[in-house]
Symmetry: C2
Subunit: 216 residues, 2 copies
């Protein structure tokens, strides 16, 4: 039996959701709260498996509440349930520890499915939330990475070794020790690396190496 809590400032929404969830034989609603503060209280008093949390609420918003809920001793899973699909909502909710992000216009059956999935350790994203997260994934991983990688395979294996350590903030002396070579040799390697990567100093080399995913 999945023990759930409903957090929403609108009493009607709470009623509707309670009805929906209690109608599922595997789910029971054990708590409700009209705002974030009450939600924390309830979560400490009851053992909650999954909390459905609205974003816009008085006193304490759903994002903050999610962060708090997730740092409790036995943190409930959180599904963010909102009317608006603003992108900051999505990012912030996920960063706060939500495992689900749904809009309130979602098909009731989907909501039930989400509760089951999230309780089981999986995740559920509304299509527009998925869209935003994918876009974000592209934004953080793709752009520089490809250009950087192209330059990176102009390096010899040993030069790559040196760059890897350089990209961790090691000095030439550190690198020499860790790779068992003279510092003069390290300098020679670094110099060639800078030329190959078309940068003028080691900071730029380090940043480029990071972008390319070196030393992950």
């Amino acid at each position: 039996m999945i023990r759930t809590m409903i957090v929403d400032d609108d009493a009607l929404v709470r009623l509707g959701l309670t009805d929906l969830l209690d109608g599922d034989p595997g789910i029971e609603v054990v708590a409700q709260a009209p705002d974030g503060l009450k939600a924390i209280e309830q979560a400490t008093a009851h053992r909650i498996d999954v909390a459905l949390v609205d974003v816009r609420m008085p006193r304490m918003d759903g994002i903050t509440a999610t962060t708090r809920l997730r740092s409790l001793p036995h943190p409930p899973k959180v599904i963010t349930l909102t009317t608006f699909d603003l992108d900051e909502y999505v990012y912030n909710a996920l960063a706060a520890g939500a495992d689900g992000f749904l809009l309130k216009d979602t098909d009731p059956a989907e909501i039930l499915r989400a509760v089951h999935l999230v309780a089981a350790g999986s995740a559920m994203l509304h299509p527009t939330a998925a869209r935003r997260l994918i876009d974000r994934y592209h934004a953080t991983n793709q752009p520089e990475a490809t250009a950087a990688k192209a330059r990176l395979d102009r390096l010899t294996p040993r030069e790559r070794d040196v760059l890897t350590l350089l990209a961790q903030g090691d000095t030439n002396a550190d690198i020499a020790t860790r790779l068992a070579m003279r510092e003069s040799t390290v300098k020679a390697h670094v110099s060639r690396v800078l030329t190959a990567l078309e940068v003028t100093n080691r900071v730029q080399a380090a940043l480029l190496a990071r972008d390319a995913g070196l030393a992950a």
Copy 2:
């Protein structure tokens, strides 16, 4: 009418999917292909809105095919449809440009929904794929960032300015020029920054600044 293509090496799967999609009044299947190479051919010959692409295929796998499809003049949207939910599959498919990731055990109605959503510019992720993407999001964005940010607000505004440029690979002389101050002053600032951030050289400072999201 959404024009779709089905790419799968299993003839039975193609048959089943064709049946399913053609049964939807808003969708028509205009092409099929048993492997990636054929898929590229088909996509250049027909105008495709959405391609459902398997991952494991002979000759050219679905990930590579997705990359190619997405770089065509009029790139079709891609939904990756696979039997296995290996995490590399998810990352690679999305990196290659897929907007949907589903497992073959997905409810048929969900597949139809995915085609509509993806055609409309939205995205659709299977719960386990969503799980992996969220985990990845946490991995890339959270851990160092918080610790780094804490140290970062020990800096004065001017020190932050200096660090921002430093984190772009500028030399002290560059920074001095861009901030209209003497290099000696820059050095003093940098020295204080290193102390405040508890690092020993500028490379480490630059990396930490990056982690904290400075100069995004």
